[in-house]
Amino acid sequence: MSFFFEVLIGGLLSGVMYSLVALGFVLIYKASGVFNFAQGAMVFFAALTYVGLLELGLPPWASVPATLVVMIALGLVTERVVLRPLVNQPQITLFMATIGLTFLIEGLAQLMWGANVRGLELGLQDEPIQWVTDKTGMSLSKFDLVAAAVAAILVTMLALFFSRTRIGRALRAVADDHQAALAVGIPLQHIWAIVWGVAGAVALVAGLLWGARNGVQFALTFVALKALPVLILGGFDSIPGAIVGGLIIGASEKLAEVYIGPFVGGGIEGWFPYVLALVFLLIRPEGLFGEKIIRRI
C-alpha cells in the first residue's frame, strides 16, 4: 500500500508541474479566446533566457527580473504584431498563428542562446528529504514541495487578480464578449497586452522549475503537449481546473504506468493522459470546470 501512495504522491507532484504550464494556456484562453500553442515555446524561451543571462555573468537576483522583462516584452510584441491584426478572425486562424509563433520563438531562442543542453541550479535539492522517508517510506524532495507551494501561490494570486481587481473584471468581460467589452469602454488591446505579459511571467516560473528538474533543452517545448490533456480535463477557461486537472493527470499517469504499463509493453505515458481526458470529456464535454457550452441558433 505504501508503494501505491508513493506512486500517487509522486504523480500528484508531477501533476503540479503540468498545472504550471497549463495555467499559462488558461490565462490566455480565458481572456482572449486564443488557444496559445506557443506556451510551451515560451516556457523554453524563458528558461533559456534565464540560463543565458546567468552565463553572461548576471547574478540570479538580477536575472529573474531581467528575464521577466524579456518575457513581458515578448508578450507585448506578440499582441502588437500577431494578435492585433487578427482580431475577429476565427479561432482556428488564431490557433494556427500561435503555431507559427511557436516556430518563431523556438528559432529565436536557439539563435540567441545556442542549442546545447544546460543545467539550471535554483539552489533547491531534488533529493528525497531524509526524515520523510524515514517516517513514511515515501520519497519527497524539497524541490517538489517548493514547486507545489509556488503553484499554490500563483493560483491564489491569479484567482484574486481575476476576481478582485479592476483589470481582472475587465479580463472576464473581454473573455465573455469582445464586442460588448469594447462597447462599454474596456481597452481590448491593453487587456490583451496585460494577459500576454502575465502568461509570460507564468511561463518563466514554469520554465525555471522544469528547467531545474530536466535541464534546459529543446525538449522543454514538449511540456506543452503534457499540458494539453490537463487543459481539456479541467476545462480551457478554468484556473482551478488547470490545477485539479494537473493533479488528476499526474497521479493517474504515474499509476497507469506502474500498474498497467507492464502488461502492454510500457511507454503509455505519452497517450494515457489523452485517453483519460477523452473519457472525461465524453461525460462532460466542456471539461470538469469549464464553462457550460450553450448552443443556440
Binding site: F35, V81, V82, P85, L86, Q89, P90, Q91, I92, T93, F95, M96, A97, I99, G100, L101, T102, F103, L104, I105, E106, G107, L108, Q110, L111, G114, A115, L225, L228, P229, L231, I232, F236, V264, G265, G267, I268, G270, W271, Y274, V275, A277, L278, L281, L282, P285, E286, G287, I293, R295, R296, I297
Partner: protein, 358 residues
Amino acid sequence: MLYREAGQFKTSYQTDTAIFPIRQDQIAIVVVVAVAFVAVPLLATPYIFTGILIPFLILALAALGLNILTGYAGQLSLGTAAFMAVGAFASYNFMLRIPGIPILLAFAGGGVIAALVGVLFGLPSLRIRGFYLAVATLAAQFFILWFLTKVGWVTNYSSSGVITAQQVVILGHAFTTPVSKYLLVLSIVTLMALAAKNMARGNAGRSWMAVRDMDVAAEVIGIRLMRAKLLAFAVSSFYCGVAGALFAYAYLGTVEPEAFSLDLSFRILFMIIIGGMGTVLGAFLGSAFVTLLPVLLSVTVRFLDSTLSLHIAESTISNLELMVFGGLIIFFLIVEPHGLARLWQIGKEKLRLWPFPH
C-alpha cells in the same frame, strides 16, 4: 477578356451542378493535367521528382483528406499523420500477408483500415467540439504511433520497428524509376482529387458544410449529424491512409512510425490553412507552398552565405529557417486568412472584368 463565362448558358441541372461548370476551367484543368502527365516527365530531373514533386503530390492528397474533415465538415483534427501511418502500415501488412494481392488493392485496403480507425477516433466528435476535439484527436496521434511501435506484429517483428516497403508492381510493370513513381502518384492523386471535388458538390459535401457552419441548425433542417460527421472522418481518413501508403511506397521506401510524427500533422494543417480551408485547390496550393518553402529558404540562405561569405553556422541557418517559416505563416494568416485559394478567386474576379476596372 479570356476568362468570361458570358454566353455559356446552362440549360439543364446537370450542367449547372457540373464539377467544373465554366468552360475556361474545364480547359484549364485539362491543360494542367496534360502538362503534369506529359510535359513534366519530359523536363524534370530525378531530383525534382523525388525531392519535390512526389512529396508535394502525396502531401497534397493528405491535405485534401484533412481539408474534407476540417475545411468542409469543420472538425479540427491534429491526428492526420497517425491516419497516414495506419494507411502505410496496413498496406504493408496486406502486401506481406496476402500473397499476390494487387498493390493498388493493398493501397485501397490501407485506406479502408485508416477509415475504420478514423471513424473510431471520430466517435467523440459527436459529443465534443472545437479545441476540445482537436486535443482529443491528439489521443489518436499518440496512441496510434505508440501502438505501431509496441506491437511487433504490425512491423513483422522487425527489431528496429522499421519496415521496408515492397516493390510496386502493377500488371508486371515495376515502378522503380522516379518518373514512373511520379506518374503512379499523379494518377492516384488526380483521380482522388476529382472524386473529392465531386463529393463536395453532392449531398455529402453539402451536409458537411451545413454541419461546419452550424451543427445545431443543420440538425434542425434534417441532416443526420452522426452520419455526416462520421462520414467526414471516414472519407478524410481514407484519403490520409492512401496518402500514407503512397508516402511509404513511392516516397520513403523504408518507414518507421516516427516518420508520421505530430510535426507532419501540423505541416498538413498548415497546408490547408495557407492553401485555403474548404477548397480542393487550396490543398494543392498549400502543399506546394509548404513543400517548396524550406527548399527555397535553404537555397536562399546558402546563396547569401556563399556570396557574402558570412560563414554562418549550420545550426544558425536551420534556426533562421525555422523563424522565417513561422514568420511567414503568421504573415500569410494576417494578409490572407482565407488562404491562397482565395487569391485565385480574387484573380478570377479581376480577369472577368479585365481590361476594365469595374
